[in-house]
Every structure is written in structure tokens, then in C-alpha cells.
Amino acid sequence: MNTSQLIHFQLNGKNITVEVENHINVVELLNRYQLKGARESCGQGLCGACTILVDQLAISGCLTPAVMLDGKSVQTVEGLSSINEKLHPIQQAFINKGAFQCAFCTPGFIMMTKHLLDINPNPTDEEICDFFTGNLCRCGSYPEIIAAVHEAVELMKN
């Protein structure tokens, strides 16, 4: 029985080929590339701190075996902007509205916002809440997060 597989995938626009153990999840694989925005917290796909986009769909990295990335395109929060460069409007919106405290959950919320605005460029409060049901913020920055999503909509218009 093979305990590892060779996979090919795109990571923030770069082609990657890697031998990966079957029991490794996506968060562990991303850590090997020093990508630390997706974080395993609850370990059960319930808190959303590990949210990334796979083929533009938001998924829980902690529940996804890394081998399942084969042939896919992966975007993490690090793919939205790079060091000393202009932030993505969603990231800027989170800063403008002070939408985080400890920020352990923030990359997950930002990637979720990315997915939301990709499919619904001008969501209502209710739609935002429905979409974020699976993302938890223990510091309770929810009101600011809702404001940040609206702010992102405005920033992305320009």
C-alpha cells in the first residue's frame, strides 16, 4: 500500500510537485511552504481558522487530506498580497474597520470574504452572516467583520 503520493497543484499561482504522505492534511502541507495563514484550531472543520480556496471554493484545510489537492489550484491569504506591497482591498477593509483582535481567525475570515464577494459582489448583512456561520472569532469582532465586508465592497468598486 502506498503511504504517500506524488501530487501536482498550483499554490498561489506557482506550480508545485511534491511527494506527500496520505495522512497529512492541507494545513500541515502549507506549513511546509512557510504559509502560516491557514491555522488548525478546532481540528474538526468547525471554526474556519484553516479556510483556504481550492479551485475558488472555500474549504477547511484541517479536514482535507493534502493528496486531494492533486490537480487543483490553491489560494491562501498569502496569495492576496506580498511583503511591502499594496494589500488586497479585503485585507485593507479589515484594517479600516478594525475587524480583528487576536487575529488568529482573520485569514480564514478574509478568505471566506474573498469567496463570498467572488460569487456575490454586494451581500446583505443576512447573507454575510449565513456565509460566515462556519467561521468563529472568540474575541467577538463579528460586528466589525460585517462592516469590513461592506467596506471591501466599496474599496473593490474603485
Binding site: Q101, A103, C129, L136
Partner: protein
């Protein structure tokens, strides 16, 4: 920043009170902010903890043979192994009762018994399942009231830490589960009750709950020759250094503790959590060791006390409170952690923010066979406010006085004596209550509805004394271009302390906050601080930072004078340093240390003339809808009002108050650690529900009243906990207002509300049992 005439410029610059984004905001939205969660060292071992499966028992045999032979396992370590390098491996801030790994006995289900080490965390986890432990089971006790008289004794003998003079009387006590008893006698409540026109007594309960920081507790120990470095998600780097040095019998400078951004703390990451264990493992194996707890394991590590609070009040015929008896029983679980301090330092406020001449308080920290309880956002205050503010509304209802008028009639105000005898100052309780009343339009008619959905509104107010005595120190290093490093051991766990401290430094130095870099806590570099807890940092560290900045300015002035620079004109640090050293060289260092005055409480009377450097007060008001067919409660409006002194950063301050109130919504409605014979049955987010965005999607207004604290830095004081105080009782009071049922235990579940409605409809007593 200019020295000399330029000092006038300082007045024009207002860094204090500026709502700039957190200084680390970019790192936080880009995913690059540093957390210990991600920290690794090449070649390090991962530890996986084997935990007790019995609530109380003698360890007869630990069989780790199969686990040790599992491919990839480095070793399996038990408590007996740890004794080889730490002969007396017990730790704790108040009581030296907690072994690094269980020795001889286990005291709760989930207690660490052994650790499997491997370079692969998956192997460590798999091998951990192969450990077998035989126990001789002992009777266990779980309820705090039962534990008072139970024949089951959790610890054979009390072991208070010798360093606290006020705990010395407890040394050697046997045959008791009472870890600490705190007593306060103010006036003579027995006589006052006899004189009272009305006497009412009620009992309230709160549940055991957990902080659940999204970054679970994590520590890494890196051994070296005669020294060790511990990277830990801790709120208390200085304490960890001291306690590890004490355990090892080393000098403090042989232990280096580094922290980072914390993915939440809320009191979960104070004192020793995983640090002692990784230290012992690293010293035994001579290899770096990392232990990352899972979300479930956090529930076995620390929690919020469940409580029973019996409160009795005597009133005169006008509705003035003249006597109050408080008996508070704190379920501390199997190890004391900081629980005894919760029982004592919050216990003395158990009578609430009311001016009562005769008060008696008995507050007990009790051992049981449950996971340990410590500090959670409020240090016991939310449990107390729950009881005394539900009780307050019940009194007002009995006397047919409006709840706000009743509070105003009895409120503890500046100039009056709190139960300890300390005179209240700088606590704007009237302003807080008046602001809340106005914002809720309390005096206008409120439509309570008449169908299935009924509406109600309620308020509650609570107060807290800042923990004392504690010390903070700060170092400011100034470069030739005027940019600065600020070295502090305050840990930014999301409350925004890095930003606030940089603003205080900037204000004092007369430079923009953005020109100051705050150094992450590192005990080799950042000077001593008691800890980041109890809303103490803005006040204590803020003062230390201000003093350090003034010290740096003094030193620059002196340099300018020595260098012969004209004092009448403005000189930049760059000019002063160039003139002094002949080139762009040199450094100016300012040091600040702050420790407020404190007088300990008397052991017999519980009195003190100066029990705290500052008082915090917070109130919440809510409007709710009660679904009388299902018992579901929906908040439709929430207003939180606090006195936080002047605000360093209004935007961050408001977010923090809001977040505290939202967190408290979890403890109000859904969060409760549930046990089956001592076994936690809901240790995951699947079953233990913290608030999600839908749960708290209602209008929330957060207000800080205009106030200023004379001894705070630029008038500031603590803010992190005040938003939690009033939420739970405000909800219970609103439910009573809506449907006339009284919930007396947290959390307020639909089942409890529904059953209380049934009882009411059946004409039974409307008190919950």
C-alpha cells in the same frame, strides 16, 4: 521630538486618544503575524499527553512497553521520570499542588499522566493510545457544596506556596477540600438584619466554562548548556521564568521565556500551563520539545469556576440596603491554579457596587475532582455579578421599585466606603447607570407584546477592583534618528496593548506612534512585568512606559547640556547624539518602573484602607424577545456602558468592550462544560457552542463615559473585562420583565426558560430549582 524649547511641540501632538489601527495590523491580515503555534526547531520532538481516565485514583502501574516499541517513538515519560531531574515537581501560583505529570494519584479525568515523544506528531498520537494504566479508584467528589462535607478528600494536605504571607495559616491543613476561605466583616450584619424591614435570600449558580482561545495552548522548550529557552503562548513570561527557575533550582537568567502574538488568551494562558512539562521533557531528552494542545485538551487544562452563591439582603422600609450576607462557593477543580486568588480578590466585591453599612462575605475556594478552574475574563466577577444583579432586580420587584431607581438609591459612589473599608474614587457608577438609562430610553413606555413572542428589557451593573499589588517595568531605547524601541513584557493577545503602549510612549516623547517599535516579550530583553491579566496593563504598564519615556527625555536633556548645546533652542535627539559622540552613534535608554500603593486585607475582618489602585465599573442593558412556545430567547438590542478612564485608542477600546460582551453572550446562553461522572462529554466545538456570527447579530452599542483616573497614564485605566460584567444578569432580568419567570442558573437555555414557563403556567413557584 525635541528637547528644550521644542518640548512645547509635545502639546500639539496627540498620540494619546488617536484611533490608529493596531501597529501589527498588516501582519495580521496578511497571515504573517508570529504565533508560537507555528514555531518549530529542526529536529525537535513532539509530545502527546496520555491523560487519566479516572476521576480520583491511585496509580498502580503504568505500562508503556508497547508504546515505547512503536516505530518512530523516541521515549515515553512519566511523573517518576521527571522526579529524576526535578525532585519536587509541583507548581502553582498560590498552592504548590500540581505535579508536572501525575505522581501516585490522579485527581481528575484528563489529568496528564505520561507523554509520548516522537519527531512525528502523528506517531506520538498513535503510540499514546497504546499506554495502559492501572488505577485503584477512589471516591470522587464533583459538586462544590458536596465537597464541603464529603468524606472524599481531593488532596491529603494543603500545600500553599510559602511566598504568600496571607496563605501561611493554611499550611498543613488536612481532611478538608476548602483550599482557601476568605472572610470579610464590615459593620455588624447580624444586628442589621434584625433591624431590617425586609429580608430576602436567594441562591444562584454559574456553570463551568472554558476560554477556548483559537490558538490552543502551546509551548516549546529548547535546552542548552546550563540554560533553557521556552517559547510559549503565555500571558505571563516573567512569571514563567521565575516559576521554572524555582522548579529547577536555577538562577532566573538561566531561563529565557519568549512569547509572541497570542491567538487569544482571556486568562487561559496565565501562570504555568504546558511550560513546566516541555521544560522537563527537554531536559530529560536533551532535545527541543514542543507540545501543542488540541481544542479538547484545553478543557482539561483550565476553566472558569462554576459557583454557588447564597446572597441575603436586609432593607429598611424606604428600600435602602442596610445589610448583606454573601456566601460564595467556587468550584476550583483538582488543582488550585489562581483560583484561591479569585475567591479572595474578587470575593471582597461580592456584595456588589452598593453602599451597604453592614456586610459579611465568606468566599470559599473548593477542591473537587474536575478540571482546574482559574481566571477567565473578569477573574470571578461575572459569576458574582450574575448573582447580585439578579438578586437586585428581585429585591426591586418585591419592593415595587423601578430597577434603575432602586440601584440609584443604593449605589456605591465616589467617597463612600466599599465593604473592605477602602474609599471609592474615580469610579463613575452614577454616570454609567445614567448613560445606560438614557440610551435605553428607560423612562419611556416599553411594548412588551401580547402574543407568542413577549418582549422585555433588563439592566445590570458590576464592578471590579484591579488586582494588587503588582509591578510593571519598561525600557525605551532611542536611536540617533529619534526612532525608538519599546521593550515590555506585556503580551498582546488581541487587546491592542502594543499599540496602546506605543501611543503612550509617543505621547510622552512627542513622536508619532508609528516611529516606535514594540519588542515581543523575551525575558532576556524585555524587563519584568507581573503579567497580562486583570485589565491591569494599560494602567500599570502604561504608567511604567510613561515614566521610561520621561526618563529618556531627562537623559537627553542632560546630554544636551553636557554637550554645550543651547538650551533655549530646540535640539533633536539626532543633534544631541551627534554632538555627544561626534557622529551618528550612541543610544539613550529610559527606564520606568511602576508599582501602586496597596494595603493587604486583614486576615480576620477582610478590611483594607487601600485595596486597589483603581476600580472598574461596567453596565449592560438588553432588550429581548421570549418565544413562549419554545423558550428561545433573542436579544434585539444591547447597550454596554463602561468607565475606562480616558481612552488611549477609542476604536480599539470600543471593539474590546463589544468583544467582551459578545464572549459573555456565550457564557449566558450556550457554553457549559458537561460531565458524566467526572468525564467531560462536550469538549469540542461540535458540542460546546461558542457564539457564532448569527448568535450575536443584533445592534450593539458600546459607550465609554467621559472620565479620567488621576493616577492612570493620561487618565487611562483598564478596560478588557468591564464589558462582561452586566450581560448575563441583564438578560435574566429582561426575561423576567417579559414573562415573569426567574432563571437563577447559567446558562439560560431554551429548556430552562420553557420549563420555567410551564411551572409558572401551572401556578407553581416561579423560582428555578
Amino acid at each position: 521630538m525635541f528637547i528644550g524649547k521644542g518640548a512645547a511641540m509635545i502639546k500639539n501632538l496627540s498620540e494619546f486618544g488617536r484611533s490608529l489601527p493596531r501597529i501589527e495590523a498588516r501582519q495580521k491580515v496578511s497571515g504573517s503575524a508570529e504565533y508560537i503555534h507555528h514555531f518549530t526547531i529542526p529536529g525537535m520532538l513532539f509530545g502527546k499527553i496520555y491523560r487519566s481516565t479516572v476521576a480520583h485514583g491511585k496509580i498502580l502501574h503504568i505500562n508503556s512497553t508497547i508504546a515505547k516499541s512503536y516505530p518512530g517513538v523516541h521515549s515515553v515519560i512519566t511523573g517518576e521520570d521527571i522526579k529524576k531531574i526535578i525532585p519536587n515537581p509541583y507548581y502553582g501560583p498560590a498552592f504548590l499542588d500540581q505535579p508536572i505529570l501525575a505522581l501516585d494519584k490522579v485527581h481528575f479525568i484528563g489529568e496528564p499522566v505520561a507523554v509520548v515523544l516522537s519527531q512525528d506528531p502523528h506517531i506520538a498520537e498513535a503510540a499514546c493510545q497504546l499506554i495502559e494504566v492501572e488505577y485503584e479508584e477512589l471516591d470522587a467528589v464533583f459538586d462544590e457544596i458536596e465537597a464541603l462535607t464529603s468524606s472524599s478528600i481531593v488532596h491529603d494536605e494543603l500545600k500553599p506556596s510559602g511566598t504568600f504571607p496571607d496563605l501561611k495559616h493554611l499550611i498543613g491543613r488536612k481532611q478538608t477540600n476548602i483550599a482557601l476561605d476568605f472572610h470579610l466583616k464590615h459593620g455588624n450584619s447580624d444586628d442589621a438584619f434584625k433591624r431590617s424591614a425586609h429580608v430576602f435570600e436567594h441562591i444562584f449558580h454559574t456553570q463551568q466554562a472554558m476560554h477556548t482561545p483559537l490558538e490552543p495552548m502551546v509551548s516549546i522548550a529548547v535546552p542548552a548548556d546550563n540554560s533553557i529557552t521556552i517559547h510559549s503562548a503565555t500571558q505571563m513570561p516573567s512569571f514563567v521564568r521565575l516559576e521554572i527557575a524555582r522548579l529547577l533550582g536555577w538562577q532566573e537568567n538561566q531561563v529565557r521565556v519568549k512569547s509572541a502574538h497570542l491567538g487569544g488568551g482571556y486568562g487561559a494562558k496565565v501562570y504555568i500551563k504546558v511550560e513546566a512539562l516541555v521544560t522537563a521533557l527537554a531536559l530529560l531528552t536533551k532535545i527541543p520539545v514542543k507540545i501543542s494542545l488540541t481544542m479538547e485538551e484545553q478543557f482539561y487544562t483550565i476553566s472558569k469556576h462554576s459557583t454557588t452563591f447564597k446572597i441575603k439582603s436586609g432593607l429598611d422600609s424606604s428600600g435602602r440596603l442596610i445589610a448583606r450576607d454573601c456566601k460564595v462557593y467556587w468550584n476550583g477543580g483538582a488543582y488550585a491554579d489562581i483560583g484561591p486568588r479569585v475567591a479572595q480578590k474578587s470575593g471582597f466585591t461580592a456584595a456588589g457596587p452598593y453602599d451597604i453599612d453592614h456586610v459579611s462575605i465568606d468566599s470559599y475556594e473548593i477542591y473537587t475532582n474536575l478540571p482546574p478552574a482559574g481566571a477567565l475574563r473578569g477573574f470571578g466577577i461575572p459569576q458574582l455579578v450574575w448573582a447580585y444583579e439578579c438578586h437586585t432586580d428581585m429585591l426591586a420587584d418585591e419592593l415595587k421599585i423601578d430597577p434603575i431607581k432602586f440601584r440609584k438609591l443604593n449605589l456605591l459612589r465616589n467617597g463612600s466606603k466599599q465593604a473592605t473599608g477602602s474609599i471609592i474614587t474615580h469610579m463613575e457608577s452614577d454616570l454609567v447607570l445614567d448613560t445606560l438609562s438614557k440610551k435605553m430610553a428607560w423612562d419611556s413606555n416599553f411594548d412588551r407584546g401580547n402574543g407568542v413572542i413577549r418582549k422585555g428589557r433588563g439592566i445590570a451593573i458590576g464592578f471590579k477592583a484591579s488586582v494588587s499589588p503588582t509591578t510593571s517595568t519598561a525600557v525605551i531605547t532611542m536611536h540617533g534618528d529619534g526612532s525608538c524601541l519599546l521593550a515590555i513584557s506585556t503580551v498582546d493577545m488581541g487587546q491592542g496593548s502594543d499599540t496602546a503602549m506605543a501611543q503612550i510612549a509617543g505621547q510622552t516623547l512627542g513622536i508619532e506612534t508609528e516611529r516606535i517599535k514594540v519588542i515581543r516579550p523575551d525575558t532576556d530583553i524585555t524587563p519584568y512585568d507581573m503579567g497580562t491579566l486583570g485589565s491591569r496593563s494599560t494602567f500599570h504598564m502604561g504608567n511604567a512606559v510613561k515614566i521610561a519615556a520621561l526618563d529618556a527625555l531627562d537623559k537627553l536633556s542632560l546630554m544636551a547640556k553636557k554637550a554645550g548645546l543651547d538650551e533655549k533652542i530646540s535640539n533633536s535627539p539626532s543633534t544631541i547624539l551627534q554632538k555627544t559622540y561626534g557622529m551618528q552613534a550612541g543610544t539613550v535608554i529610559g527606564f520606568g518602573s511602576y508599582k501602586p500603593i496597596y494595603i493587604p486585607t486583614d486576615l480576620v475582618t477582610g478590611e483594607s484602607k487601600n485595596v486597589t489602585p483603581f476600580w472598574m465599573v461596567g453596565a449592560s442593558g438588553v432588550e429581548v424577545e421570549v418565544d413562549t412556545e419554545t423558550g428561545h430567547i433573542k436579544i434585539t438590542n444591547m447597550i454596554n456602558v463602561v468607565d475606562a478612564g480616558t481612552l488611549v485608542n477609542p476604536k480599539i477600546a470600543t471593539t474590546q468592550i463589544s468583544g467582551a460582551a459578545i464572549m459573555q453572550c456565550g457564557f449566558t446562553f450556550t457554553e457549559e462544560m458537561l460531565f458524566d461522572d467526572g468525564q467531560l462529554i462536550n469538549g469540542s466545538f461540535a458540542d460546546y457552542k461558542i457564539p457564532s456570527i448569527h448568535d450575536v447579530h443584533f445592534p450593539i452599542e458600546n459607550i465609554c463615559v467621559t472620565s479620567s483616573h488621576d493616577t492612570g497614564p493620561y487618565g487611562a485605566k483598564g478596560i478588557g473585562e468591564s464589558g462582561t460584567f452586566g450581560v448575563s444578569p441583564a438578560v435574566a432580568n429582561a426575561i423576567f420583565d417579559a414573562v415573569g419567570i426567574r432563571i437563577t442558573s447559567l446558562p439560560i437555555t431554551p429548556e430552562k426558560v420553557f420549563q420555567a414557563l410551564l411551572r409558572k403556567n401551572e401556578g407553581e413557584a416561579n423560582h428555578e430549582h
